[in-house]
């Protein structure tokens, strides 16, 4: 839904002001920056809360409870009650009343974590590493094998790098030579991974800088 020109100009002015406020942090922490981030925190929280109400609580809880159309409406009194109990967490004296609800969330969260780790990470990532050696996928076999072997070495050595168990020696806890060698290799792969990701982060951030500089420039030009 497009805004009318006046609103667009007002939006541009406010955007310009807040952009300057935040970029002033490059000079140093200052009241302008503080004002900018505090207002930003408030707006983002208010926006998130309004989305939570409009897109979750209202359609999924209150509407079914009010209309009673939902087949699960009977079950919806429970989360409502749990939600009320959660509010007690804000008051230290009665905060324990909210513990069972937090326990419920933590328990479900733990199950989601386990399910995600096993079904979403460990098994798929292991299988896809194995599938790299599928020569029927096409391409030069030698090149594919080379890449797959390097890939496997990188994955394995990175995994080995994290091994915690070590032997007690007079010089302190030490891992075996083979493990140390592999973990050294893993360290290289980790450094390379971080380097690549960091380059991506820099380019993403640079894009934002370019966007802001261009916005400021175009806004100033529009004033002239």
């Amino acid at each position: 839904m497009a805004l009318n020109p006046t609103m667009e100009f007002a939006s541009a002015v406010i955007s310009f002001l807040f952009t300057i406020m935040i970029l002033s942090y490059l000079v140093g922490d200052n009241p302008l920056f503080r004002l900018g981030i505090y207002v930003f925190i408030g707006v983002s929280a208010g926006y998130a809360a309004s989305v939570a109400f409009q897109d979750i609580l209202w359609p999924k809880l209150f509407v079914p409870l009010i209309t009673g159309n939902s087949s699960r409406s009977l079950f919806l009194w429970i989360p409502l009650f749990m939600g009320v109990l959660l509010v007690f967490k804000l008051f230290p004296r009665v905060s324990r009343l909210g513990n069972p609800v937090m326990a419920f969330l933590v328990g479900i969260g733990a199950a989601v974590v386990i399910g995600g780790a096993v079904l979403g990470t460990i098994i798929p990532q292991t299988i896809s590493t194995i599938n790299l050696f599928d020569l029927s996928a096409g391409g030069s076999a030698v090149e594919k094998i080379f890449e797959s072997v390097v890939f496997m070495i990188g994955t394995i050595s990175t995994l080995v790098y994290f091994q915690y168990t070590a032997r007690k020696t007079p010089q302190g806890a030490k891992r075996g030579r083979f493990v140390e060698l592999l973990s050294l290799l893993g360290k290289i792969f980790i450094a390379i991974t971080f380097g690549v990701v960091f380059a991506g982060v820099l380019t993403a951030a640079l894009t934002a800088l370019v966007d802001r500089v261009m916005f400021i420039w175009t806004f100033l030009l529009s004033l002239i």
Binding site: V39, I56, A117, T121, G195, V196, T203, A205
Partner: protein, 225 residues
Amino acid sequence: MGCYRLHLYWSDPEIGRCNLKSIVSTSIAILSGLVVLVGYFVQIPILVELRSLFLDWAVILAAFMVFIGVLNISIVNISHFTSGKKDGFFGLMLIISMFVTLALGLILKPGHPIMNFIFNSIQLPVELSLMAVLSITFLIAAIHLLRRKPGWVSITFLVTALLILVGTAPSPFGEFPLLGGFLKPFIAQVLAASGARGIILGVGLAALTMGLRILFGADRPYGGK
């Protein structure tokens, strides 16, 4: 409560007293977790239904959590303002902006032009500006890296980052075909991806044991432990 160690669980009378409360919470956590976990693997209708129901409740409770968070932020910043602490005025501005946005959002809905106006005028430019600030911050961090932790790992990190950056866009002096055509893809698609996979697998293993510790009742953050 002090009843966070399994081996202490029944020893201390003080602990014993609090066990009844914590046992209820722990049982809820374990049961709800087991239901959802088994529902992942076993397609028993009742379990699947329960899992779906619990997940829906979790989504609703997460929405409640957002409002509790709003109240939390309000309490902290009001106390800042009333106690005349540093940033008290900014805290007041935060509360005003938060409740104005929330009120408008509740009345007009998030998709309304006014809400979009607020978002596009404040949140979007601020986040983009913070991202722009990060570009300078990360660049300075890269400069200081070898000073902070000199070593071949840091050098590898910087050289890799440099190669990727050079391969991302042609330099004013022209392009390095070998870099853009072969080296960058190899580094990004093989070396970096393999390292990333190793890290992700490791995190997956750790997350698995972490989740199981909670289902065992060994870690009970809901009880304070």
